[in-house]
Structures are given as C-alpha cells and as structure tokens.
Symmetry: C2
Subunit: 124 residues, 2 copies
C-alpha cells in the first residue's frame, strides 16, 4: 500500500471509530490542524470539529461503516476515491466520492465529499 | 440554467476559445484572480497561466473541444461535473471529472481535474 492509501484508509477508520479518544488520535494522525471536511449535509474545520462530525454521523447511523471501494487516483497532491457507507447487515446505505488535497507534510488539508452518482445532463 | 451552470459552461468555453484575446476575456469573467487549475499533466495559478494552459492544450490537440456530459452536483460552493474532450470528427479523446470550488463572489477559485474512470480497488 502506498503512503496515500494508508492515509486514506486511516481517514476512513476515523469515521468508523466510535471511541472518542481513539478517534481523536486517528484524526490527529491524518488530518492537518486546520483541515477542512465538506460533505453535503455538514462541514467541519479543524480536528475537533472533524471528530465531532464523525460522532454526529455515528449517532444517526449506528453500526454503519465507511469502506473504500475504488483505488485512489492521485496527482499534484490531489486525490479521489469512491466509498460506500455500509450497515451492519452489509446493505449499502450510501455511496459517494471523496476528493481531497494533501498538505506539504502529507497530512490531509481538505476533503470534499459528494453523495451518489453524478446527475444526468439536464442542460441539453 | 443556474448561475453555476452558466459559470461552468463559460469555463469550458474558455478551454475551447482559440482566440487569445477572447479567451482572456472569458477567463477574466469566470475565474477568481488567484484561481488555481490543477489537471494531471499541468497546473496553473492566476488567469494568465490558466489561459496559457488552454493554449498549450489547443496546440497539442487542434480542433478538440470540451463538452459537459453530466449535470452539476453542488453543495457548500463545491461542485463536480463530468466532461468529454472531443475531436473534430466527434470521437472522444478523453473523458474526466472536474471538481471545483467557488469564491464568495461566485467566481471559480479552484478546479481540480481527474482523467478517465476511477481505478479499481487494488487494496483488497
């Protein structure tokens, strides 16, 4: 696994970690101090807000986990990968794409999430 | 069409405009002054570099044009859409995804392009 895939999979592990202290440690390890996480329902800036955002999602979807379902496409410290948000019974509650940028030190500076498939072209 | 679809389609028109002066006008209209464009082969910061990047691509692929082939998925001033880069004979030379962020005034602050489909998951 590349450094980036370790970083991305650790980032996803942060979403999945229900123990607040362990989650804070994971977030500290992969996110830049001023990292920015922007998802359709919520946004967070900085490690404390990012960790809190995971706690909020966990409270709404108990037992669900994020898994990476694509390779990671990277250039110029920018990257994208697909994920699924899976219930305890294995059903997929949501799928999406995360697009991110690394800081100079390899920590995550920004992630923007998009949910579902791209909309069809309605501007014909 | 929404304001954002006008902005995105004008941005693509900038890639396609071969007249340097008209292209500079388009870039001025849609891009923030310090806008950043990051594609797999090239990156550019600021309007002059962005316009030059389009000229470079045009010189390598005469007669090709970008067209938008999806709707635009937007939240929190972040957006994504799919495009194709099409030769004069209609054949698709390249397809990809652009992910961007708007500045407060609605101009484009950043666009990151990704080429082709997502890689398959090699980390099983």
């Amino acid at each position: 696994m590349s450094d980036l895939s370790v970083t991305v999979d650790t980032y996803l592990a942060g979403w999945n970690e229900v123990d607040a202290e362990r989650r804070a440690g994971i977030v500290e390890r992969v996110w830049a101090a001023n990292g920015r996480l922007t998802d359709p329902p919520l946004e967070a800036t900085g490690r404390e807000e990012i960790s809190q955002m995971a706690a909020t999602l966990q409270s709404q979807f108990p037992g669900h986990r994020f898994i990476r379902v694509s390779g990671i496409d990277e250039h110029h410290h920018h990257f994208r990968f697909a994920w699924e948000f899976v219930a305890a019974d294995g059903s997929v509650a949501l799928s999406g794409l995360d697009v991110g940028e690394l800081a100079e030190d390899g920590s995550i500076a920004r992630i923007t999430g998009f949910f579902g498939a791209l909309p069809s072209n309605d501007a014909a």
